[in-house]
Symmetry: C2
Subunit: 251 residues, 2 copies
DNA sequence: CGCTCTAAGATTGTAGACAATCAGACGAGC
DNA sequence: GCTCGTCTGATTGTCTACAATCTTAGAGCG
């Protein structure tokens, strides 16, 4: 996963205004990561008194951060009953992946047409990381590196809107997999099955890349909806245990 | 514009949980509408003490609502300096419309394949409203009805993600037009130029609809970036004056 | 006149308090 | 044994106060 604190690429030639992240920024990132990693369980209530205490912040900025995630669709706010981590059940998998396919294939076409060598190289680097993660046989690490390849591909489009949507989609995909299964499942041959994505980008083959992305995402849908029919070897791991507590934020 | 309080379509056959909108929901909608309508000027600071007072709410929920809009990209939060309405300058028009094209053309293809008669009829109804708005020769009304046709088309896809993105994109498109121009400009023949969208949806002509959307959005980009080269008759209106104050929310 | 510094007022960010609401447990009645 | 009502504790939602920071205006100096 692109860490949520990913720095802006490149160094500005001139001095830039210094903006340090606000407390709300930090809490938002912490909560988003906790949801992504499974430390905050899908569907679980977010007890703001307890959790703000754990993070070492007061309830005000905690609530503000939570509202950001409500807008992102990662957290659900029910008046009078508080906050909970969203769930994305089986009935929403196809629309989720349809939307994801829209973003990724469109970004890929833009990237093929417009991405510079540096951006293409960052997709290759993300795939190299996936190769290394494959060697660990750790499903969560593989899954994260896998998603990072997809993210880097969308980032290579240079379109801020597509990248913003993809950043949220990646967490939503995690939420979906944690919702529909007690196990976290990835392909055993993740690096190999993702190689066409990088190769076709490098070859500037838009149609080939489009088809490779669709095949990859169709396969993911099948694995999520009908695991027994997926027909590939997989790595499985029990869904991560929720963290007993979140750590205080270093303000 | 689809009003921000648009009810969920259809009636659930079973009893649904009753959820009344929270204060934060209401403030969010109010601010979003104020930005959309120009009552809150692009780039202007959002003075939370003053504005919460105007809306008749306290600063806490006001700040929470603002954070939702920060996540939507409509409001910018700068630590220590507070909130401001976003601007989208000329350099962002092409990426914005590229993203909008992605959403609309993809949603259109899904709608052609999957939309029921009722959804297609709602796009026709939105176009009928555009015909009526055309007769007013009021640029803002025409523009709103125009955007509503596009929104209805994406809604016809039935994909919640695409619709969520489109709902924000519509406000962002407004922000962009208010940023780059002192005037609000729409085509004089808006209804006529949008007719192909409805007709091709009704005819289930995916390629034709895709091409019509692209032509329509390309034209909008040209009108935004190089108004003198647009080559069509337009309606212009001075950008709406910011409202001196927002009205209290009826809680 | 222009620039710098300081002070005052405005605003933001957060903490804590209080009222309203929700959830769960227990007891009474059928 | 089951259902309903009541009570208590937990939690949410909002408000207010205070500290920190920012902005602006005015005064002084070169």
């Amino acid at each position: 996963m692109p860490s949520t604190g990913r720095p802006a690429p490149g160094a500005a030639p001139a001095l830039s205004p210094v903006t340090r992240p606000s407390t709300v920024d930090l809490i938002t990132a912490e909560l988003r990561n906790a949801i992504y990693s499974g430390a905050l369980r899908v569907g679980s209530p977010i007890r703001e008194v307890e959790m703000a205490g754990q993070l070492g912040v007061s309830r005000g900025p905690f609530r503000e951060a939570a509202q950001r995630l409500v807008s992102e669709g990662l957290v659900v706010a029910t008046p009078g009953r508080g906050l909970s981590v969203r769930t994305i059940g089986k009935d929403r998998i196809r629309p989720l992946y349809a939307a994801r396919t829209v973003v990724e294939t469109s970004a890929a076409r833009i990237a093929v047409a417009e991405a510079g060598d540096e951006q293409v190289a960052s997709v290759r680097a993300a795939h190299d990381a996936l190769v290394r993660a494959d060697a660990t046989h750790d499903a969560l690490q593989v899954g994260a590196a896998d998603l990072n390849v997809h993210w880097a591909l969308v980032a290579a489009s240079g379109n801020p809107w597509l990248l913003r949507w993809m950043t949220t989609l990646i967490v939503e995909v995690r939420i979906a997999s944690f919702t529909v299964s007690e196990e976290y499942v990835v392909r055993k041959d993740a690096a190999e099955s993702h190689a066409p994505l990088v190769e076709r980008l490098e070859a500037r083959d838009a149609d080939g890349l489009d088809a490779a992305i669709r095949a990859n995402l169709d396969d993911a849908v099948t694995r999520l909806l009908t695991p027994e029919a997926a027909g590939v070897e997989t790595l499985e791991e029990p869904r991560p245990l929720p963290a007993p507590r979140l750590d205080p934020i270093d303000l």
